[in-house]
Symmetry: C2
Subunit: 450 residues, 2 copies
Amino acid sequence: MTTALLTDHYELTMVQAAMNAGTANRRSLFDLFTRRLPSGRRYGVAAGLGRAIDAIENFRFGDEELSYLHERGIIQDNLAEWLANYHFSGDIWGYPEGEVYFPGSPVLSVEGTFAECCILETVLLSIYNHDSAIAAAASRMTAMAGDRDCVEMGSRRTQEWSAVAAARAAYVAGFASSSNLEAGRTYGIPTIGTAAHSFTLLFDTEEDAFRAQIDTLGEGTALLVDTYDVESAIRLGVELTDGRLGSIRLDSGDLAIMARQARDLLDDLGATQTKIIVTSDLDEWQIAMLQGAPVDGYGVGTSLVTGSGHPTCGFVYKLVARCDSDNPDGELKPVGKKSKGKNTLGGRKFAMRRRGEDGRAETEVIGLGTPPVNDGNDRDLLVPVFKKGELVYHATLEDARQRHRDSLAELPLAARRISNGDPSLETLILDEEGAETTNPYQAAPVVKNI
Amino acid sequence: MTTALLTDHYELTMVQAAMNAGTANRRSLFDLFTRRLPSGRRYGVAAGLGRAIDAIENFRFGDEELSYLHERGIIQDNLAEWLANYHFSGDIWGYPEGEVYFPGSPVLSVEGTFAECCILETVLLSIYNHDSAIAAAASRMTAMAGDRDCVEMGSRRTQEWSAVAAARAAYVAGFASSSNLEAGRTYGIPTIGTAAHSFTLLFDTEEDAFRAQIDTLGEGTALLVDTYDVESAIRLGVELTDGRLGSIRLDSGDLAIMARQARDLLDDLGATQTKIIVTSDLDEWQIAMLQGAPVDGYGVGTSLVTGSGHPTCGFVYKLVARCDSDNPDGELKPVGKKSKGKNTLGGRKFAMRRRGEDGRAETEVIGLGTPPVNDGNDRDLLVPVFKKGELVYHATLEDARQRHRDSLAELPLAARRISNGDPSLETLILDEEGAETTNPYQAAPVVKNI
């Protein structure tokens, strides 16, 4: 499928007007960033780059798309011709997928002609605003789960294609697997499943259902034990497998108490290796509350795929610099709007994470001029993604998972608290001369946490 | 694209186990419903049926899908063969798209073999949980906007394909148009656009930008006037069009005050026909607060596409009845799980809206037996969608819009209040004998509003 029409109407009319006015080819630089983190969040997680790359490569206007636009009077012949040959030919830098970010972090920087950069706005924002929201929620959940597995099971609670993207974003942020088969097929994410209540109810007895499941899926399967009576179901599952049952799933009631009772019963019956998976409206707080319960895995649905209270990130995509002529070697001049509460920091930026002697991250440094001399502890955050239209970023999902683990491990410990707080790193903005200047973004005062 | 893998892993392993056990062909009935409305909401809006039909018709397992499933050991040969020939052959009834619903309303009922109904669970829930969440938010916004247009502009705040579905759901619930081009192409929804700040910043002066926009898009265009100074921008726009400027867009600051000032200035300048469109984090409350301001249209983004605080609906898909043999003419027996707080009302249901003499809706009647005698005021809610696998529902999006207007108009006036409240209709559950019985769904006591 082409991604070309996953685009706001005005992107094309702006390009049309710029083309007619002779400004469409002015070299331009757009930053994708957020002015603030969702209220109370201590860090963001950059997710979506892999999907953004796919979207850019599939941003193609075929006959069907062009006919639609033309017939509706949205584009004229000169733009139609240009769109028919559209291929992003500029440069893109970005935070590697899985990296954490803070207010003002230039998570993605897109440079090229105004036209070729402008029309990518909507689809890039859609991807980043969704995927990073899910990854941020997932990161808090996996932090609370510690060594226990989190399984993404939220497909049914979000739009069907969002579900696939959500499974991917959750995997970036440490989830072990997903129930979503398209995510398995498309991204190679491990998929798993248990059984639903309907399966038990289909059979004349719970025993028939359990036997059927074990016959086909083996003793290692996960039996759902709360369709009728939990204790009877556990006894039955253990009996049918001679104590070798893989796991049970609890999906209702007070999970802490039920997990304790189930563990005791399983152990009494000799099924000491049988694992306990819990599901049912879990979120990071529920997972934290279950840390003391004998639980082996968490199946998370609604809260994960809706970003646990923050289903979108507030990423914007702003023109921050442009040439004042078509000269491809002309000077990029910083620009920024003055709208109240929505001002933008113009100019090309570098981004680095300043770390202390102990390797602990201390500051997010975003600067407009030459990067300060690296004292050996700083870490550059922007990597090239496209160079002159050619893809140069080839990180895998496993790389993204590793990047997330590493960047999280380096943050102050307070970053991993799920209570509401300020961003765990202060963003330092350096002007062209390298002097510290006001951060226009995070609205609330940024207090550095210990 | 096939929708076949927009499915949870366990749907296929359950069908595999049932197939091996000889129960996969038991005639079964699944209901899609919600146990409660999102906290504080007074009604739900059934949206997604048109997309659900498309998903069912595109639920096809080709070689690629089957290879993936087979190689991962998710399916065996007998299931692979059955999936290769999958075509839903059963019956589906549903609430027409746009209809309002209440806790327990059987918004969709799917009857067929266990296998063919079971594997549709995930994709049907994904569609309904998303689309109905957006439609419910949209309905509250259009109710507050009254005769003024609401325009869907949220594509960038949600996943890129969710954006298309969101535009459609908002349109069902009364939005006038959308910025999303794919929604325009796929569903024929009117698309519109204004311009972004980047467009103004691209040019050397605001005047150059406005001239370029007017040259290409005509005097009827909408100029974004808050990139620099609002008053100067309005004066400029009026001057360049000799007072015939179509509209201005305000995207920042206190919109009520700014709209008042802009209206006065436009009128002073003789541009009395120029409209004022406002955007910037609008939701139903902001729209309500702007009722007294001289605003002509609302562009709504984030809040709409995230369901205004409720991004998902809580729809579940439950086996409520099944035969105990493969006999296709066998008796459907009610079933229901007993899980704590999650019990299900078994059996085939009818649904009707009971209305008073004045045509005002009074009660949502969901019953298990024969429908009560219609006193002429009752309205049947379920319509056939598929009969023996054949599509028999052909409502258009315009039909859905009309259905939404009509069903909303019939509700008690209190339904349209945006403050938190109970469901505006009580759900009455009738047992097999037609006697009133306990509604197991809405957790909070349902108080009938006046």
